[in-house]
Amino acid sequence: MNVIYPLAVPKGRRLCCEVCEAPAERVCAACTVTYYCGVVHQKADWDSIHEKICQLLIPLRTSMPFYNSEEERQHGLQQLQQRQKYLIEFCYTVAQKYLFEGKHEDAVPAALHSLRFRVNLYGLSSVELVPAYLLLAEASLGLGRIVQAEEYLFQAQWTVLKSTDCSNATHSLLHRNLGLLYIAKKNYEEARYHLANDIYFASCAFGTEDIRTSGGYFHLANIFYDLKKLDLADTLYTKVSEIWHAYLNNHYQVLSQAHTQQVDLLGKLFENDTGLDEAQEAEAIRILTSILNIRESTSDKAPQKTIFVLKILVMLYYLMMNSSKAQEYGMRALSLAKEQQLDVHEQSAIQELLSLISTEDRRIT
């Protein structure tokens, strides 16, 4: 049933592959509106996104039913648009999630869908396409297809360049991806330029001390680390960890205050919350663990900094309700503090954190 018979297909329908746009040979049996060039692409699409949106595609790809009045027609059109918008967002978040989980392969079809719907809805030269391009570029970078990533990025850059009203946040994202591209191409000069732009735009959009700005600092620090400018990288890493510390400590303080104010009110558990979405949490973990690795490699020089990062990680995992990880990092911090014989104040602060985590853990289990 999966094989198509071209003559049986409704008139005017494009028979090209959903993934690569080549002439199609197969059709999805569930929705009968999606075509593929072969089994490989069909499987890839199914695993990535098609399983989730299969039925939603039907109204978009079949011709509109006949409406009797102009009013109904308008209503129908509006509904169609709304469906498309929903699909755009849905595909975008799915793709993003795959990217943060490191499943670049799976992210591509989802991102492609998002891009395609965007083109349908907004036209080819709209700024709305940029996020989708950036997703695709990131996925391609992850897959090591630098050329493809470059193509997508230049497309995005061109779109941004032509549009007059593009938010600072989008600019920042674009430059960050360009920076990553040039890092991958080992062109550190360009990469630094783009990352600097990224930080500038992010600062304009969110402020210099925002966690969304920290990504730019982090990548810039990596470049300097690779260039063996260690003191520079060090100050930048410190900056990133300070940003995260400020953010997480703030949340942590609020939470612990709530704990102390109403102890055991009906034994109710407090919802730990980082205030971050999944993507940001994944980013936080990635950034902080890599900083930790770097710090640990030079741990004998500045154990204070390692402990600082460890503490941030403890707080992060604690707020993410991952108490086993939190405990692990906490123990590491404590042992390091004891080993290096740091001041008592530091040790007691870590102890306190650990005890809080363990009580929380017991209450849950």
Binding site: V147, R192, Y193, L195, A196, N197, I199, Y200, S203, T208, E209, Y217, L220, F224, K229, D231, L232, T235, L236, K239
Partner: protein, 510 residues
């Protein structure tokens, strides 16, 4: 028909590359090579067409502010960037606030002042470099340079920001024995002083003074820092004590001023010491501790004579005279005031001269030496005329008028008390001529200042009542008792002698 052979053409490298890439070219080029060639073309463009380089395009397209920020960041100067960014945001916020309050804010936005941005870039990045190398002295120097650059009225808050940063950095500098820290304290003191927070300013100046004690540090203009510290500290103490005196907290004020004079003594600058004791004397005077005031002022006197400083000597005499006057020791006071008058005259200090003469006149007036009083007042008045200052002239005029009235009162009293025909005639003729002419007060006073005829005096009385109208009631009210006495005598004569005086009385009563 023969086709012409193709023209031999030398193509530049770029076109050659582009030609090869064209779809019509026979050669098949693999994709990877195409990309490599694209990079080549980019590079070629960058090298050979200067105006087309990507960076230059970016520099042209973007605002100068952004270019500066990006330049900072790509070299890793993130702290400078953060600082500059925060400053620019504050700048905008201030502008916005000024706009909301509908004040006319003359400052252009920072983006439109590239030279200022250049300064920021230059010094901030250097400071950060130095900070990374842990050479805090360089950090301080760079930040201080920025503070100096913004040392103008409209950018004061920027300067203050950098003073504060300097202060923080200076505390980390240990090798120079605290010179930078002292300087930073000085700047912070200045900052608070300008802000009107005298207590904080005094604190910083005290620290500054302590740090510079016994050191021979000099600032850029060659002045000794210790002396500078003493000066600033004294100034702040004086302002503080002024405020306290206004609130009648005499004890506090005196305590602070004693501290000030001790510091001045340590500073071994005679002039400053003198100043300190002068203000201490004034404070004692305000607190009504006359004896101590006198001893303190005496030292000031001595110091001034030592320094051969006439002006401060004059001030000393004046202050001493005031103290003596408050004590009731008028003869001594007169002695000092005469000295003061002399000094003021010799140094052409007209204002001082007026003040001294007025004070002298007042004392004479109180003592009943009306002739002398009016003489002094006249001198004062003449000087004010020279000075052409209207408010002062009015004031001395009133003083003069009062003295004249006093002077005249005696004569009138004599006439009335003698109660014979000739005196009555005198009185009558005075009364008649009184209202006739309205003489110009200035010329009249010039002419008739020493003449003691009754008719002349009447004019002065009229004048007096006129000035009384012009809000000088308080002066007259002190002499009210005498006037009422005078008026009563007139009433017993059953003659309404003196409408002017009547006028005056009702007005003073009102």
């Amino acid at each position: 028909m023969t086709t012409l052979p193709p023209l031999p053409m030398t193509r530049p490298k770029l076109t050659a590359l582009a030609r090869q890439k064209l779809p019509c070219s026979s050669r098949k080029i693999p994709r990877s090579q195409l990309i490599k060639e694209k990079d080549d073309i980019d590079h070629y463009l960058e090298v050979n067409f200067k105006g087309l380089s990507k960076e230059e395009v970016a520099a042209y397209r973007n605002s100068y502010k952004k270019n500066i920020c990006v330049d900072m960041l790509r070299d890793g100067y993130h702290k400078s960037f953060t600082e500059l960014f925060a400053l620019m945001e504050q700048w905008d916020a201030l502008r916005e606030a000024a706009r909301v309050r509908s004040l006319f804010w003359l400052q252009k936005p920072l983006e439109e002042q590239p030279d200022k941005l250049d300064y920021f870039y230059h010094y901030l990045t250097r400071a950060e470099d130095a900070e990374r190398k842990k050479s805090f002295e360089d950090v301080y120097n760079n930040l201080y340079a920025l503070a100096c650059y913004f040392n103008n009225p409209e950018d004061k808050w920027v300067r203050n920001h950098f003073y504060e940063r300097c202060f923080k950095i200076a505390q980390l500098i240990k090798i120079d024995g605290g010179k930078k820290e002292a300087e930073a304290h000085m700047h912070m003191g200045l900052l608070y002083e300008e802000d009107g927070q005298l207590l904080e300013a005094a604190e910083h100046y005290e620290a500054f003074h302590q740090l510079t004690q016994g050191r021979i540090w000099k600032d850029e203009t060659g002045r000794s820092l210790n002396l500078l510290a003493c000066e600033s500290l004294l100034r702040t103490y004086r302002l503080l004590s002024d405020k306290m005196l206004q609130n009648k907290e005499y004890k506090q004020a005196i305590k602070i001023l004693i501290k000030a004079s001790e510091i001045a003594k340590e500073g071994s600058d005679k002039k400053m010491e003198g100043e300190a004791s002068y203000y201490l004397g004034l404070a004692h005077l305000a607190a009504e501790e006359y004896e101590t005031a006198l001893t303190v002022l005496d030292t000031y006197c001595k110091i001034s004579t030592e320094l051969d400083d006439d002006l401060s000597l004059g001030r000393a005499y004046e202050a001493i005279a005031k103290v003596l006057q408050s004590q009731g020791n008028t003869t001594e006071a007169i002695k000092y005031l005469k000295k003061f008058v002399k000094i003021a005259r010799n140094n052409f200090q007209s204002l001082d001269f007026v003040r001294a003469s007025t004070m002298l006149g007042d004392i004479y007036n109180e003592k009943g030496h009306y002739n002398k009083a009016s003489q002094r007042f006249q001198q004062a008045f003449d000087t004010t005329v020279e000075l052409m200052s209207m408010p002062l002239m009015d004031e001395t005029k009133v003083h003069y008028g009062i003295a004249k009235a006093h002077q005249m009162m005696l004569t009138v009293n004599n006439y009335i008390e003698s109660a014979d025909l000739t005196s009555l005639n005198y009185l009558l003729s005075w009364k008649e001529s009184r209202g006739d002419i309205e003489p110009d007060p200035v010329t009249e006073e010039f002419r008739g200042s020493t003449v003691e005829t009754v008719s002349q005096n009447s004019e002065h009385l009229e004048e007096l009542s006129r000035y009384d109208k012009s809000s000088k009631k308080f002066l007259l009210s002190t002499h009210f008792v005498q006037y009422t006495k005078y008026n009563l005598i007139l009433q017993t004569q059953k003659e309404k002698f003196h409408p002017a005086l009547d006028n005056l009385n009702t007005e003073t009563l009102l």
